[in-house]
Point group: C2
Chain length 427, copies 2
Amino acid sequence: MARPHVVIVGAGFGGLATAKALHRAPVDVTLVDRHNFHTFQPLLYQVATSGLASADVAYPVRGIVARQANLAFRQATVIGADLEGRIVHLHHDDHDVADLPFDHLVVAAGATANTFGIPGVDRHGFPLYNLADAVRLRNHVLERFEAAEARPALVDDGALTFVVVGGGPTGVEVAGALTELFHRVLRRDLPRLPVERARVVLVEMQDQLLAPFRAPSQRHALETLTERGVEVRLGAQVARVRADRVVLDDGEELAAHTLVWAAGVQANPLGRALGLATGRAGRIVVGADLQVPGRPGVWAIGDVAAIASGGRDGELLPQLAPVAIQSGRFVGAQIAAATTGRAPATSFRYRDKGTMATIGRSRAVAELPLGIRLWGLPAWLAWLGLHLVMLAGFRNRISVFANWAWNWLTYDRGPRLIFRSGPRRAG
Amino acid sequence: MARPHVVIVGAGFGGLATAKALHRAPVDVTLVDRHNFHTFQPLLYQVATSGLASADVAYPVRGIVARQANLAFRQATVIGADLEGRIVHLHHDDHDVADLPFDHLVVAAGATANTFGIPGVDRHGFPLYNLADAVRLRNHVLERFEAAEARPALVDDGALTFVVVGGGPTGVEVAGALTELFHRVLRRDLPRLPVERARVVLVEMQDQLLAPFRAPSQRHALETLTERGVEVRLGAQVARVRADRVVLDDGEELAAHTLVWAAGVQANPLGRALGLATGRAGRIVVGADLQVPGRPGVWAIGDVAAIASGGRDGELLPQLAPVAIQSGRFVGAQIAAATTGRAPATSFRYRDKGTMATIGRSRAVAELPLGIRLWGLPAWLAWLGLHLVMLAGFRNRISVFANWAWNWLTYDRGPRLIFRSGPRRAG
């Protein structure tokens, strides 16, 4: 009898966790991703702000796959499925559609930016969710400074004003890293430009930053960012955006060439493309065992899944790496149990191990279990250590660590490159 | 009286050498390049073969410029000049044309691939002269393997056959690095694919590889490449190329999806755009003092210049980094002398300090002054040391060294990523 075939869609934190949890199971696993690398999303903001090179946060999926005998990789995009016939339809980059049969299908396709229909954000906003986003923002930021040096009038036009929308961890991290890049690095690079006129404006709808954190951490973040020159606008929303203007809901207009969109995500639209029921922000509806109701053998995990928190009012778990990893492991174990005749667990339980966010050089906030809360340098060191451990690949760890040490000691940012690799060649 | 203004076009080896030689001169210098980084061209082949990340061989020009008080940088493309009026016309990436007046103009714009009009090479060939070329080739090579794994029939179609044209240092280095990538790294990555069927064919018009080297070095290169599985075709030329076919001049057809073009360069067409007289392969005609005849204050250096070797028959110096560096330093000194009333040197003399080429892991050839010739491991170590010293930027040196150590010890290639950063956003 052929071994059951498990198809995992997405090589993010969730998909990789599922694959690893199936290491010893009597199944064949195919991991499908449109990229040949896993992206370490928590550090994308450092690529966008010239602190790390793109290769530092990307790890070749085949380097992981080669270590697991029952695991294969396919670089392709999933464009649909015949769920009755148990087949997913793949599209390869430069040739036809192919079919891949499955016994279990794990949808781990992640999320994309949610612009909430605010006019102009789709067109002019810079999201920060994948590696291409990060490189695009890096190029754009550096180009604004080059343009302003060549034409100083562009400073008044908003070339050096950067609006970051969203006061969650990503927004706080980007705002902190941008102000550091400008005032520590680009000020030296562009001695003829009034770099002190560069502005970072952080816009947050709620009345505090870092909503999921406790009040003292929120205050620490606000004070640190403000000290470092970030203009924080609490209780404000973006009404509309043009290439050189950001209009807030109170009517204030900011002359700004850059809008970083960190205000929210929605599920990857794959759920809908597969004909699965989706809930809030397009997230796939799953049962307590993370299986799609009425679709045995079809599972959804991580950002793409609407996983109940177990709390009141049908609240959902947040779209964070630890949820993806834990839900991925759980589904891997479920499938392993199903194929070996063991009893599966009945429901997924998320264990919150805490949250962290950096606020630029030597500052962070961390809230850990047992009521442990860290701020400032200790939190920052904890953040560094955790992220080094989480990074896939020893080479990437060495490289990131060396870069961090270098950046910290010298205030340098090596990879401040304006570089587009461009399209494939004709033919 | 205003200080004389020196405009240097191109931030390659030559342009940077000129700028540095003007460090103490009573002049203002503007370095113009279309990229905001200097590219370390000798290591591009390692980016193309996944040994180094793109950021390892690129160094931000402003990191160099900030250390020299009389030096400014402008990211722009030179599109023409009014040589009588002493003005160059610049084009900035996203706005209008600007004028830049000069007293001295140093053209250091480098070279591009010369396809000698062979049908199909322009369209299907992969040159290896700038960073985008290297990333494009890396993406293409890795995609061939992904495609072949998804559709095994593509192996017969030529997906895993790579033709490298040109047996000079670049061709030898690429061929050696490709065969190593395939048989040491991708063989592990793609256990289901018959990677042993991957072919590297090196095509050289002459009867030996590495024309400028002596016969024993040439034999060492040929033997090492052959041992490692490269098929070397001496005395052969490419007649025409299609997306999946390379036809040689003796009528042999190779089913191959990839043609790496390392068979020759021509000068950047800027010389012609400026209305300067050009000689062989578009190189700008210069006098013995590297000034353009009849155009006092207009100089050309490095690959873009037709610099006489001083030998018989009007032979020209080769288009190599040491020539660019030495000619750049010479012109910097000439300009410094002219602006301080010292007597300029009358003619440029190139001092040949030797040549080196790697042939993959632990093997190289080096021919140094005083008749010192090295092969094998000693040559390879000499090559590593020299290139580390030549690299701009301490951070890049650390990163490249760490990557080399890692690659050598583990046979790993970290940055084997298929990644296109894509276009700028609309708006």
